[in-house]
Symmetry: C2
Subunit: 385 residues, 2 copies
């Protein structure tokens, strides 16, 4: 096991009818900016619950945060924060809204350096951020209980991530009933997103982290067990609660403790979103099998363990179990309605160079062995056609 | 799943050669009291590492904290804190030292009400505590990453617990190399302690917490997998690191999220310690099988699941798997060298009334169904003879 630090101070408030607790969780002595997206919270009743809980607290609204939230949109919010003397942010929505709020929180305190530098430097230059809380309405990314954020910039077709302990939410409210109105394709995206978050932290190479491996498998097995009930969209509270908690636990730092992470699927997937607009989870489902096939020799021990413990494989050799584990994963993605090839998005062989060229320009090397550069990215995406 | 709140702000610093990080973790602007036990840290090199890291920081020492730490000892420390104007506590040792430091931290800020009331009220009256950090040298209780403490009072043969969010450690350093010199019986105690912590939060009744169930099984399976290597005492770093992290994860709040807890084994076991001096884990290993047999009908669904997923049982009925799960657990305790009956401690039938009388006096009712009072405590202990 590797040495590690773990400190996750987010106050999670989980369960039915918990949005009203905002009244106590939000500070009373400052002006609040309520941030949200395209208005789905106005249709499902969440907006009304939030406004009711904010009663008596000075607040303004900033709406229109888009999926794959844009730097340009966030900077509009930063301007308003400075004009309106805001002291606390409340993000209400899914991963995009919360990621945007994290960036807004950091950028609004970033005097002297250009806000885009936060992303170029992956957050290493962030020392302070405005405090903020969240009401999560779309389980998927885990951002409600971590210090990560991903922001896109329209002007340059870029999608970059940053992380800083300054952007842990003060609190996050998770009411599974807010998920009753989520469209099926977004439930599918959330299941795949959480699944890939886990395997990016688990399917690498063995340095003896038996508890963390089993904690990863716990999330994967639960996602697989609950997927049909979640996708049935019949207000199955316990299934949605279990699913929601899986998505949070998938990326709150616990399973990463002392283990080796990969994240090459995410890094390559971000470019598919930046160039062709795939949803985050769609990009992951396409890239993951390619990464696993390309890195088979390096990952086969963990793939075999995953095959045995998640897909109940019991063949004679690690190689057989590892090969089948990849197949079973692809079948699982298909079973929830998720495509797994570039062709499904009309991306063809000639497009691949666009992605690998970007890795070349940035001199980006990824993977747990730091062995995936622009050439290997091209080879991986060729396996994803 | 039940509603829940989860917030665990402890900064965990885990791994080899991490004690030197104390230099940065301890505040520089206040006088520190270093608290420890009977001097084992002087023999295994931990004391020297701590003193080296404290170099240049004003500090005094308070030693002699005993196993099952005494209220009377803690109050001596509180007097010194007031005389010496201490502003930060550092506990170096196992669960007893850290539990004592938690109580000292709370009692030293408890103006106006008697410190013993902290325990009588189980911490509900604690609003403030002195900040403190820990260096854990004995994995077992999980106290290094929670807000619980158990204190004994010699004058009345009582052992009582308290909990308060005011007594989360600021940081806890966990260096698995500090465990190399732990005596075998204390390694055995730690394995059983962590195992019972998990099952107290898991073997109750099903309210659909599939992720939490699997997270519990992850810890149990890892403890079972590592036990032999831990007990071999041959400086097997990865086995001890995995074991140490299991003991922390067993009681840091994660597996309790939204689930139903029992804790009757602990409540009854505390009395065996208070009256006859059994080590905490020894008391748990005696009481647990009795609680499970007595509450068999209420717990058999979860016992069967536990039997299938931890002991690989595969019989036709839940009843068979549940019965065998109890047997396998007892066998596991024996395999690590842990006795499981009152007779092993020369406690006989006539002694049982002493424990049940105390439940009667205090009008204590325990168990996840709140159905274990003094009469049932007597019945359970009769099953433990």
């Amino acid at each position: 096991m590797n040495n590690f630090n773990f400190c996750n101070p987010v106050n999670i408030v989980f369960g039915k009818n918990t949005i009203s607790q905002l009244a106590n969780l939000i500070p009373s002595d400052t002006k609040v900016m309520l941030c949200y997206g395209g208005g789905s919270i106005r249709k499902n009743g969440v907006y009304d619950q939030v406004i009711s809980a904010l009663s008596g607290k000075e607040h303004i609204e900033f709406s229109g945060i888009e999926p794959n939230p844009l730097f340009e949109t966030c900077m509009q919010a930063v301007d308003i924060i400075k004009e309106e003397n805001i002291g606390f942010l409340l993000g209400v929505g899914g991963g995009s809204v919360i990621d945007a709020v994290k960036f807004i929180a950091a950028a609004s305190k970033c005097e002297g350096s250009a806000p885009w530098e936060i992303l170029v430097n992956h957050g290493t230059n962030v020392s302070e951020a405005m405090p903020f809380g969240c009401v999560l309405t779309m389980p998927a990314t885990g951002t409600e209980m971590n210090a990560n954020s991903v922001i896109s910039r329209k002007s340059s077709d870029e999608k970059l991530a940053f992380a800083s302990s300054a952007v842990y939410p003060t609190f996050s409210i998770l009411d599974p009933e807010t998920t009753y109105s989520i469209p099926k394709n977004q439930l599918r995206n959330g299941i795949v997103d959480a699944f890939v978050h886990v395997v990016e932290q688990y399917i690498t190479y063995d340095i003896e982290t038996p508890l963390q491996d089993r904690q990863a498998e716990a999330i994967l097995n639960t996602l697989v067990e609950l997927a049909d009930r979640v996708l049935a969209q019949n207000k199955d509270y316990n299934a949605l609660a279990g699913y929601m908690w899986c998505t949070t636990q998938a990326l709150n730092g616990t399973i990463a403790c002392g283990a080796v992470g990969d994240w090459s699927t995410h890094m390559i997937g971000h470019e598919l979103t930046a160039f062709w607009g795939l949803a985050h989870a769609e990009s992951l489902a396409v890239v993951l099998p390619g990464v696993w096939k390309h890195q088979f020799e390096n990952k086969k021990e963990k793939l075999a363990k995953f095959g045995e413990r998640v897909w109940n494989l019991n063949h004679d050799t690690n190689d057989e179990n590892a090969v089948l584990a990849i197949e079973r994963t692809v079948e699982f993605f298909h079973s929830v309605g998720m495509p797994t090839s570039l062709a499904d998005y009309n991306i063809c062989k000639d497009d691949i160079a666009k992605v690998s060229d970007r890795f070349k320009q940035r001199n980006t090397i990824v993977g747990e062995h730091q062995n995936i550069g622009h050439k290997e990215v091209g080879e991986i995406l060729t396996l994803c056609l």
